[in-house]
Every structure is written in structure tokens, then in C-alpha cells.
């Protein structure tokens, strides 16, 4: 049982401290395991600080997302071998991702949040960011994909021609 008023302090990779409710951290497999490993009674307040390998700015975004999703059901449903739909991202999540400033920053922030979601083991956030990135890629031209993913083409013209030839077996 998690008591809504219980709080846990997180120390970030750049030295900041953030105190959050256990209602939010219960969605993070990493933090919950860290608390379990402390072998403290759930009633013990305050808990020792949990160090997370995430910078302060990114952690704030993660906490913002967790706050919106604090009542999501747990455990997060396991992915089944069914068709993956990327068009079911909640409106709040879409707006959350879109507000990240300039185009380049948005992509960098998205990567930082993905990395944080992976390190903190927040499945819902990882899934949402995965769909967001897939939606950015699907239906785009090769040039647009390179721009979105910030990739440099390291093929020679001959190699590109060869891959285009290989791709010709499917209708584009």
C-alpha cells in the first residue's frame, strides 16, 4: 500500500534535489525498487533520498508527465503481439511534447525524456515517446527523416542507388 502523502526526495545527476509524492514515483520501476531495497517501512517518513541518473531539467518534465498520469492503472499493460497503433496518444501528451520550444530542442528534449523514462523504468512514458517518434517518421521522405532524426547521410551516391534498386521490389 502506498500512502498518497508519503514523499520521496530524488537527487539528480546535476546535484539538484526534488521531493515528490509516492503517488508519482509508484509509476517508476527504478525508484520503487530503490525504495524497496532500502527495506524501510512504508510508514517511515522521510525516506532516504534516491539518486537518479537524470538531470534536473529532464526530471522536471518527467514529473510533469507523472503528475498528469498519477492515476493511470498499474501495472502498465504488457505489450501484446498485436498491431501497434501510434495514433492513440492522449491529447494532453501530444500538447506536452509539442510545447518543447524550437524544432531541434524538441528532438533533443524528446531523446532526453526517452533516456530518462528508460533509466527510471516508466513504461507508459516510454511507450508514449516511442509512438511520438514513430508518428514523426511514418510517411516522411528520406530527407525529412534525416532532418527529424538529425542524421547525416554517410552513403556514397553508388550505395544510395543500390539501396534504391533493392527497395524497388515494393511499391512506394
Amino acid at each position: 500500500r502506498i500512502y498518497p502523502l508519503m514523499r520521496v526526495t530524488l537527487t539528480t545527476s546535476d546535484g539538484a534535489s526534488v521531493t515528490v509524492s509516492r503517488q508519482l514515483t509508484k509509476h517508476s520501476g527504478f525508484i520503487e525498487k530503490a525504495i524497496t531495497d532500502m527495506a524501510v517501512d512504508d510508514n517511515a517518513v522521510p525516506l532516504s533520498a534516491v539518486a537518479v541518473d537524470v538531470d534536473d531539467a529532464t526530471l522536471k518534465l518527467v514529473i510533469e508527465w507523472l503528475t498528469e498520469h498519477r492515476d493511470d492503472a498499474l501495472p502498465y499493460p504488457e505489450k501484446t503481439d498485436e498491431e501497434r497503433r501510434a495514433d492513440d496518444i492522449p491529447a494532453w501528451d501530444q500538447a506536452f511534447v509539442q510545447k518543447w520550444d524550437t524544432k531541434e530542442d524538441q528532438q533533443q528534449t524528446l531523446y532526453a525524456v526517452i533516456t530518462a523514462a528508460d533509466k527510471l523504468d516508466i513504461k507508459g512514458l516510454l511507450d508514449m515517446t516511442c509512438k511520438t517518434l514513430a508518428n514523426k517518421i511514418n510517411g516522411k521522405t528520406v530527407e525529412e527523416m534525416r532532418e527529424i532524426l538529425q542524421l547525416e547521410c554517410d552513403f556514397t551516391e553508388e550505395e544510395l542507388a543500390e539501396i534504391r534498386k533493392e527497395n524497388a521490389w515494393c511499391e512506394n
Partner: protein, 314 residues
Amino acid sequence: CTFRSNVNYFYCLIFSFNFLFINLPVNPTKMDILKLPDVFLRDLLKYIEIKDRMRLRLTCRAFEELVADTHAGYFNLGFFSRDMNTSIFMGTTRMIEIDFSDEQLEELIDRRQRLYTGITFGNFQFMLDGKPSTMEFLREFTKKWKIENISFVAHNEQQLESSLQLLSNFPGSEVSLALCFHPGTEKLLSLQPMDILQLYPTNDVPRQISVDFFFTLLSKHKNLILKNLSMLTSADWKRVSLIISEEARERSVILLFDETDVQTWLNEYGFTASAQAGDTHGEFEIIKMLEAPDENDDEIELRYRKCKIMIGQS
């Protein structure tokens, strides 16, 4: 005095260095998509359409390798037909220009290996032509495929044989087989249990399916769609309803009869033209009487224990 002065100067230098260090803007390390967790990238590629996987191959070497090294994900529909033209649909992507030569087969297998390590289809339908070259192609080309529901349409014995051969590539799949010809009793009896067996001969001279044979098929296959079935008596009809009703799993049987046969059964059970919803005769109960503007489109819904019976025009 000189010593003190040097010390001060020294302190001053240290302070200045610290000051510089603290105030220098931190050069943010630019994050690279390819440094994201491997499990994330593999998941991401499962959301990508086949044609977009192809475009991703062209972005850079790292993505070309990633595409080749990941599962393509799950596609609800797929289709193969070799008739006048060859069509293979994987999701919404259509393969083109297949000539089924040995040379091209090798080439296509190689290209497939550069596109995914595996692919899953919810439903895949094959309409085979029975030619050895098609079979050779499909046996190789579908090796990394998983199909949950596989269906075949066969118009002759050769196509049926090809379908059964290819089926051995997908031992865990649920199978639907639509036969547009009557392959003979022996062949029908030798078929493995199907999720759906459809026997819908389209030839001019219909071959009747005996009632006993119908019950044999019913005991073996989960769902049946049958045409040209000899007339069932009202007792046979009750027996079918009982079998379906007593099953724990969901089953369906679709039988195509002359309208007069159906009317005969309904009359034998006491249902007349004036029957209404709620009327019961024995354990049969009318649930719905749907009257359409054209009386040929009328539908009747009956219930026998747990079995629902729909009667309508096909």
C-alpha cells in the same frame, strides 16, 4: 612583503580559474537517436510501416543496419495471389515485379533479410496457383513469418495440395480453408481440423453432401460454411443446434439451403407465417422477426438453448 605579495597573486589566480570554471556555459552533449536504448529502438521499428522501413534504410548506414536487424512488427492483413498478376500485400505495402525465376528468388530472399528479422500477420490469405515455382518462392519467402490466422482459397486439387504443403510452414496458425470445388469425400476426411472449413462448390454440377458426412465434418472442424448439403430433417436441425449449444467454445455453422427447405423445418416445429418474437415451440424460441421492405430480405432469429440461429437470404 614580496612573499605575501606572491601568495596573494597565487590565490588570485586560483580564484580566477575557479571563477572561469564555474561560469563557463556547460556545452550540452547533443543526443543521438542511435544512442537511445536498444529496446526502445527495436520497439520504435515495430511502429514503422514497411515502406517507411525502406526509406529509413536510405537515411544512413546505422539505420540501414537497424532495419535489417529488427522485427517488422504486427500487420493485421496480408494477401498473396498469383493469377493473371501476382500480388503480395504486407499491410498496405504491395510487392511488385515478381517473375518467380530462381535468380529473382535469391535476390528477394536477400532483400527480405535486409528489411526485417521477422514479421507477424494477424490474417494472411493465400490464393495459390499450384505451380511449383510459386510454392518454392513462398516456402522460402515466408520463412521468417508468423501468421495467426492463415486462409487459403482453392479452386482445384492442385491448388488444394499447394495450400496444404504451405500450411506445414505455419504449424501454430489457425487455418481457414475455402474450397470452391468438391475434392471428394476421402480428401475432405483427411484434412486437419480447421478453424473454418468452407465448402462452396461453384461448378455447374453440384455434388451433394450427405447428412452423415455433414455431421462428420461438424465433429472435426470448428466453423463450417456449406453449400449443396442434402436436406436436413427437422430432427437433424435440432441435433445441429444441440451440438453447437453444448460446446463451451464459440462456433458457427452457415448452411445454404433452398428457401422451401427452411420453411418446411419451421413449419415442422410449429412456426407459421404469423409467428412473432417471443413465440416458443419446444425449446426453440423466436428472438427477433426482422421484416425488410423486400420480403426476401426478412430475417428470423431463433434460439435453441445456448445456440443462436439466424435465418436469412444469402
